[in-house]
């Protein structure tokens, strides 16, 4: 019997290959999308759960109320951890991590390898966390100063083909040498801690002046504690609040400052952490939720479409079913055959979806910045999906024909009566409506998102970001030395020294003046005389600096934004100040964008780099404009000269255009994601149209034949067939277009500089969907319309 089922199923497939392939493709796409989302959700939920004690590890966070200004940080001072361990019996283990955001260079023979995943870790690191140490003793690897643990891959990069254990390395070309005391397994991608080089914590005491004893000093360590199983969180929190008061809050009583420490579960960091400065993206719960909803929606709609199409086509089988029934196939057997066919097809769809997943995952990973792998999922998850997808869809697509079997009379079918479909099936229309609404809203939104992104990339930033590179110099003297050396290359045309650059960090201070109150928060930047010229920033009024000493150090320039904020008609000659020092304004520059276009240009005060060292704590950068050439060539010259001049200093550089485009990474991935979902929604909706029109064509075959006999032309028949679908599309437009308008206005409002909502997108989207839908309906109904009416009617 099985062989017979299989044979029949395959023959059917062969008879209608196009239909079968389209239907399978839709199903497989939906399955693939759901599959990827399941992989994604599973991976997001699996973060930081590989630690044996993952349920008991908590990270301390600090919640500060500074005169009503609330801030929360996932870091504490170095002193907190040991004190908690000492005072509270509930705290059974503790480890600290610091310095994870500074890259280090490992020098060997005058060249270096950069680790951007380095940090200091306390010796208890391997006790608290379950990172595996392949070589070395986890208890002692990080106890001595100047010992480091590196990961397997990083060891292979540093010492290819050699055993790195016990080798000495120099970091950042300082005098100290470090001994490799352990080789760790590579960091799993589902860990919120990402490292390839761990320095021992005592090293930090040796080479930095960090304060390890006071609770309000050097708030820059991640502190992790292991809590006992029976720890009462409420009691612990109370005790912690009391200790915090004793150690810290008492100092600030009456100053409006209050600090609270809280315990945040490590396994919740990925999904729920609201804090900044983690090594990976956190707080993804919202995304996970959205994606889960999308997965369910896609599954539901695609499943429905698939079932719809299959049922519509099953009408063709009326005769076959009748014959089989007459020949003695019982209802149970016929049901079995339907279920077999439908499960067979969905199983084929599932296999196809696996291929699609394999093809689409790289794209998904790129957009979502994930590291998903189909074979990384546990076997039971894949098996579960296979059963759910194949079983669920197979069952659903088989259930209607099977249900129909139970009330069917072979007599009628053999007489040629059609497989009667229920006439008005409301859910089917509702579903088409929903699909149209989603597709239309997404099409409009996608166009708006891309228009906004294009607007960004074409917008005048107030300076020229092309062919501009900055190199970090420790101080003014080194910067001048480097600039001098680089000026020997004809490739480099302009040079300037600056403390800030677009896309880099900004230094903001409150600026006072006699006629503005309470003062203006402004970015402060110190530059040399070539700044305007090099950046290609326009001067609005007044003049720029002509020297870097003497009276020039008493002068500043401001930007137009400052002038506007202050409400000055003419700023030249006015005095502004900071902490008792006053500066006279000698010029106003046009606004230029130091930050992304999400923010408006902020007020800025430009001072001259020179003998007065107000900027002493700020690093100085050498900004260089180069002629049109490859950035690799520029980089190799800069790097070579840097090493020649300053062999013991880290070479740190940025291309400005890259920094600028980094500012919009989220927007671009948002756009790509939108595009992907839009394409998916359209695909699904079109399959819905295909299913519905196939269904209608079958249902109205007799009517069409009669109309044809009575003289109806093909055109009017196509119109008749299209009218129903067009009606739903129009209703969808009424719902979707205002919705898209509303949400896109809101989205655009999140940008300081944005396009106005382009209303033409509404018409264009509707028209596009309309044309495609019409095309499908026409294609589908032409087949029915072309049929010889005599043939149709005689078998009625």
């Amino acid at each position: 019997m099985f062989v017979h089922f299989l044979k029949t199923t395959l023959r059917k497939f062969r008879r209608q290959p196009l239909f079968a392939v389209i239907n399978l493709f839709g199903l497989a796409t939906a399955m693939a999308v759901c599959f990827m989302i399941v992989l994604y959700v599973h991976s997001e939920h699996g973060f930081d759960r590989f630690h044996e004690q993952s349920d008991n590890i908590f990270r301390l966070s600090m919640h500060m109320d500074i005169q009503g200004d609330l801030r929360s940080e996932a870091v504490t001072s170095h002193a907190v951890g040991p004190d908690l361990l000492e005072h509270f019996p509930e705290v059974t283990g503790m480890t600290r991590v610091a310095g994870w955001n500074t890259p280090v260079n490992i020098w060997q023979d005058g060249r270096y390898v950069t680790s951007s995943q380095s940090m200091y870790a306390e010796s208890s690191f391997f006790d608290v966390f379950s990172f595996k140490l392949l070589r070395g003793n986890p208890q002692t690897a990080l106890t001595e100063p100047f010992s480091v643990v590196i990961t397997k891959d990083f060891a292979a990069e540093l010492f290819p083909g050699e055993n790195a254990m016990g080798k000495m390395i120099r970091l950042d070309n300082r005098q100290e040498t470090y001994m490799i005391t352990g080789i760790a397994e590579n960091c799993p991608s589902n860990s919120h801690l990402q490292f390839n080089l761990l320095r021992s914590y005592p090293t930090l005491r040796e080479i930095s002046s960090a304060n390890f004893y006071e609770w309000d000093a050097n708030i820059n360590a991640f502190t992790y504690v292991v809590l006992a199983n029976d720890a009462d969180m409420d009691v612990l929190q109370q005790k912690t609040d009391a200790l915090t008061h004793e150690k810290l809050n008492y100092k600030y009583e009456g100053m409006g400052v209050h600090i609270r420490l809280q315990y945040f579960p490590v396994k919740d960091i990925r999904l729920h952490s609201p804090f900044n400065h983690d090594m990976i993206e956190t707080g993804t719960a919202g995304k996970v939720w959205v994606f889960s909803v999308i997965a369910l929606f896609v599954l539901f709609v695609a499943g429905f479409n698939y079932v719809n199409l299959t049922i519509a086509r099953s009408g063709k089988r009326a005769k076959e079913v009748g014959v089989r029934a007459v020949l003695g196939a019982g209802k149970d057997l016929l049901k079995k055959q339907f279920y077999f066919e439908s499960i067979f097809m969905t199983a084929a769809g599932f296999l196809a979806s696996l291929i699609l997943v394999e093809m689409l995952l790289p794209f998904f990973n790129q957009v979502m910045q994930t590291d998903l792998n189909m074979f990384g999922a546990p076997w039971w998850l894949i098996a579960l999906l296979a059963v759910i997808f194949t079983g669920l869809f197979g069952f659903l697509a088989g259930i209607y024909p099977s249900w129909y079997m139970s009330r069917f009379q072979p007599v009628k079918i053999l007489k040629g009566e059609f497989w009667q479909m229920p006439g008005r099936f409301q859910p089917r229309n509702m579903l088409l409506l929903i699909q149209f609404v989603v597709s239309l809203a997404l099409i409009v939104s996608t166009i708006v998102v891309f228009l906004q992104i294009r607007y960004f990339s074409r917008m005048d930033l107030g300076f020229d970001d092309k062919n501009l590179v900055v190199v970090l110099a420790d101080n003014h003297e080194n910067a001048q030395l480097f600039r001098h050396r680089m000026s020997e290359y004809p490739l480099f045309s302009e040079f300037t020294l600056t403390t800030s650059f677009p896309g880099g960090s900004l230094y903001v201070e409150g600026i006072e003046s006699e006629d503005i109150s309470p003062g203006i928060m402004a970015q402060r930047i110190w530059v040399d005389q070539q700044f305007l010229q090099t950046m290609d920033v326009r001067l609005d009024t007044g003049r720029f600096f002509v020297a870097d000493a003497g009276p020039e150090t008493e002068y500043v320039l401001i930007n137009r934004a400052f002038e506007r904020k202050a409400g000055w008609a003419d700023a030249i000659g006015k005095n502004i100040g900071r902490e008792g020092r006053t500066y006279r304004i000698i010029g106003v520059t046009d606004d230029f964008h130091m930050q992304s276009l999400h923010n408006e240009v902020e007020p800025m005060v430009i001072g001259v780099l020179g003998s007065r060292r107000q900027y002493a704590q700020l690093p100085v950068w050498v900004m260089i404009r180069f002629d049109e050439t490859s950035s690799a060539e520029v980089l190799s010259i800069l790097q070579e000269e840097w090493i020649r001049l300053f062999p013991d200093k880290t070479f740190n550089y940025y291309f400005i255009s890259e920094l600028i485009s980094d500012l919009y990474v989220d927007d671009h991935s948002f756009g790509r994601l939108f595009l992907a979902f839009t394409l998916l929604a359209i695909l699904i909706a079109l399959l819905g149209v295909l299913g519905l029109s196939a269904f209608m064509a079958r249902q109205r075959q007799k009517e069409i034949s009669i109309r044809k006999v009575l003289g109806a032309g093909s055109g009017s028949l196509v119109f008749m067939m299209s009218a129903e679908i067009l009606k739903w599309l129009m209703i969808a437009a009424v719902i979707a277009l205002p919705l898209a308008w509303f949400y896109m206005e809101k989205w655009l409002a999140g940008f300081a500089y944005s396009i106005s909502f382009p209303f033409w997108t509404m018409g264009a989207s509707l028209l596009a969907l309309l044309l495609i839908a019409l095309l499908i309906v026409t294609f589908q109904s032409m087949h029915t319309i072309r049929k010889n009416p005599a043939e149709v009617l005689s078998s009625e």
């Binding site: 059917k12 003695g328 009379q409 007599v411």
Partner: protein, 234 residues
Amino acid sequence: MIKTVDLTKVFRTEEVETTALNQVSFEIKEGEFVAIMGPSGCGKSTLLNILGLLDNPSGGEYHFIDNEVSNYSEKQRANLRKRNIGFVFQNFNLIDELSVFENVELPLIYLGYSASERRKRVEEVLEQMGIMHRKNHFPLQLSGGQQQRVAVCRAVVARPHIILADEPTGNLDSTHGDEVMNLLEELNKNGTTIIMVTHSQRDASYAQRIIRLFDGQIVTEDKSTEFVLTSAAH
């Protein structure tokens, strides 16, 4: 073999009630060849469907090989049907996706015969009907006469006691029609009971007895030869 007593069939829609069969009583003995005739809408097909165990009567009794089956469930009827009745239809009703061999094989599959037994039986009957050389063809590759021949093969392959034929020559030209009628006559001679619905006088002449229906009632039961003679006399 078959006996009906006051067999009645009423079709109801929401507003209309139609009596398709009105207290029809007759008997057919084993080995008979009976034709059922009558104008369109007289209830022929309804009667054939009930006789063929495809449908239940609304009233009266139907004795099928010693069973009173008028109240049998679909499952019980299907069980009796597949063992005892073979069907031949006007429009052949072959399954397009299956080859000649597979179409003929189908009843045996549903009866649970082994693959080797099925092969033996199917080949035997194909040989007998002279279409063995077509066994791997599909229905759409055959002429109408050949298709009906395959349908007859399918009807007899399970060796049923009764063959029900519904206008078996209706879609065939006279040459092919005669061929099919000769096949049926041959089967009847070998002991199979045949009940045939037809419009054709010519086909009816093959039968030993004619039951004439009009508006759901039997108007005459006569020997076909006599009927042919009397109608010829008119």
